[in-house]
Amino acid sequence: MSEQNHILKIGTVLATIAGELLTILSYIGKGGQGEVYLCEMRGRQQAFKLFFPGAATPTQLAQLEVNIQDGSPSSALVFPKAWVPGKSGNPIGYVMEYVGSDYVTLADRVNAKCDLTFLPLATACISLTHAMRLLHASGKVYGDCNLTNIMIQTRPLTGAVKIIDPDNIIPPSVVSGLVYTPNMAAPEILREKVLPNLETDLFSLAKAIFLMILGADPYVGKQFDTAGTLTLDKQFELYGRTARFVFDPVNRENRPDSKGKAALIRNWKGLPGWMKKVFIEAFCEGHSQPHKRIRESQWLDHLIRLRDSISICKNCSAQVFLDNGQPARCWNCTESVNARRILKTERSEIVVNSGTKVFPHHVDKHSRHEVKKPVAEVVRHPRDKRVLCLKNLTEKRWKVKQTDGALKEVEKGGAASLARGTQIIIGDEVAEIK
């Protein structure tokens, strides 16, 4: 995009409705509804969205004020912070958090423009699902999930996400501007122009999770390769009426191309069987039956379990999913990969690697899906780096029953052995090392 094609002059000073000044620093880019600039406000870098005035509907403009007042329900969701009036007093745009170059888009991940591993990708899916759940719990829907609105932190590679572009965040089924992306919108939006609601968001969430973990679209297979010209109408048909999951267990007509989609096929083969079933449910029944779509809490259970199943290949360090702790072939070097140890609690099995974290989700039945602040972390023994142990990150003492039957207590900051057969009481839960 050449420098001259943006509307605002660099250096322009604008004022929010509250009178706070912001300075336009540079042009970032444009979308269907406006342009985005880097700006400075309160001494910090922020982003400024300038509406194309014909693009923002009155409903959106009214919702903008509501969203600013409500604030974001999750740090992963970029919300408008303050709006800027034009000469008429109506909003011409708004200020929001600036997401910098340490994040990449989901489009970058799908187009192989960044190096990633499964652990941060599974974490990114958990963060994305959490954010969507909190948004839905606040009585709003996102509406326009697409590959450039979902961003993944890669420096450092934490798996944190930011969901940008809050223009279409609105209560469910409210008439706003119809905005959609054929490859992410629910089929009922493409077919019947249904207004965005919780179930359409759930469909887009499922697609985002599949794209994140497997790196390709769940419906782009042979049907697309033989479709001729992919006009918009054709895409509506292929993602809508005739869509078929590429790994549909019954109908194999839309299998992905074995050369062009070699990574997708190998990634799929490397998934645990139970996770394949989850995706089959999401993209077969979930396509045509909105009420059967997988809910956010179910996704969180599945995604935490998937992250807990990752082991590291001893030979090449690739991250490999184990199916219920069973050995698997490394997708990179074909060596057999085992779980060095498994930490088993009542409802979780966590494959133990250096750096593995245990969260309240695993050991406290009242803290389901709580995966922000770990209660324990697998660390290397300070005197013998080959030995792994479990560090207590809580304020409470753990009771540890060692393999010889002896009882030991582990204070905050102390560590328990990960010898097979050891039992550790963390909170109300007995964790056993297998």
């Binding site: 336009i24 190096d115 591993t117």
Partner: protein, 240 residues
């Protein structure tokens, strides 16, 4: 060292951009100058776009119609890397119908085994044909890829808009003004190519009015508008 996961790199799609350029005598002077400048800038911008979007295989073909008939300029289906514009000089009649026939034949000759995004066909002309153009246009509209194409005409100078309008009948974009080169390039790259590409890159888009054509810049605070943008936009009359 951590091993990165296996990645396919997205879906690579073919995107056809067909440029039908009027090099006839009526284009003499400022008109052919505007066309040459626009095409020169277009070659640079398509290259930039191709670099940013490696999942697209962009294929460009230019057909010039003038006193020499309708012929493919440069090579057939050049990549953005190979597409370099050589200035045209205006001469002779306007065999627009012959250009439509060449476009149809070239579209029909594309390999059927590949997958294409919606092709873009651009007619850049002052709309004064000197041959039978209606029957060839009907054939172009009726051929399979022609039916699926986005067609738009860029009117140069005091163009015959009825004829240009018939070329892009049914298209979302229609007849565009090209009072300067930069705007023409914007129309081609930002609207047509990006629209065809939207679903592959996963960018969302809106239906209905074309936002950048309905901007009311008058509501922006005094002194906040980029002067280069004004120089290159159609909004000057709204502003001054």
């Amino acid at each position: 060292m951590t091993i990165s996961i296996l990645q396919d790199g997205g879906d690579c799609r073919n995107l056809v951009v067909f440029l039908l350029c009027d090099g006839s005598k009526s284009m003499h002077g400022a008109k052919i100058g505007a066309l040459n400048m626009a095409m020169d800038e277009l070659s640079a911008r398509i290259l930039e776009y191709a670099k940013d979007n490696p999942h697209l295989r962009i294929l460009v073909q230019v057909v010039v119609f003038s006193g020499d008939g309708a012929t493919t300029a440069f090579q057939k289906w050049v990549s953005p890397q190979e597409f370099r514009w050589t200035p045209l000089t205006a001469n002779g009649g306007t065999p627009m119908g012959a250009a439509f026939d060449v476009a149809r034949q070239e579209l029909e000759n594309l390999p059927k085994s590949a997958t294409y995004l919606q092709p873009t066909i651009v007619l850049v002309s002052d709309g004064q044909p000197t041959d039978d153009w209606e029957v060839p246009l009907g054939r172009l509209h009726a051929c399979p890829m022609g039916k699926d194409s986005q067609m738009f005409a860029v009117a140069i100078g005091d163009a015959n808009r009825d004829i240009l309008g018939k070329f892009c009948a049914g298209s979302e974009i229609g007849v565009l003004e090209a009072s300067n080169a930069s705007k023409l390039v914007d129309h081609i790259v930002d609207k047509s190519i990006a629209l065809a590409d939207a679903a592959v890159t996963g960018r969302s888009f809106t239906t209905g009015s074309n936002p950048s054509q309905s901007i009311d810049l008058g509501d922006l605070p005094e002194g906040s508008i980029n002067e280069s943008f004004i120089d290159n936009s159609q909004y000057e009359n709204d502003l001054f």
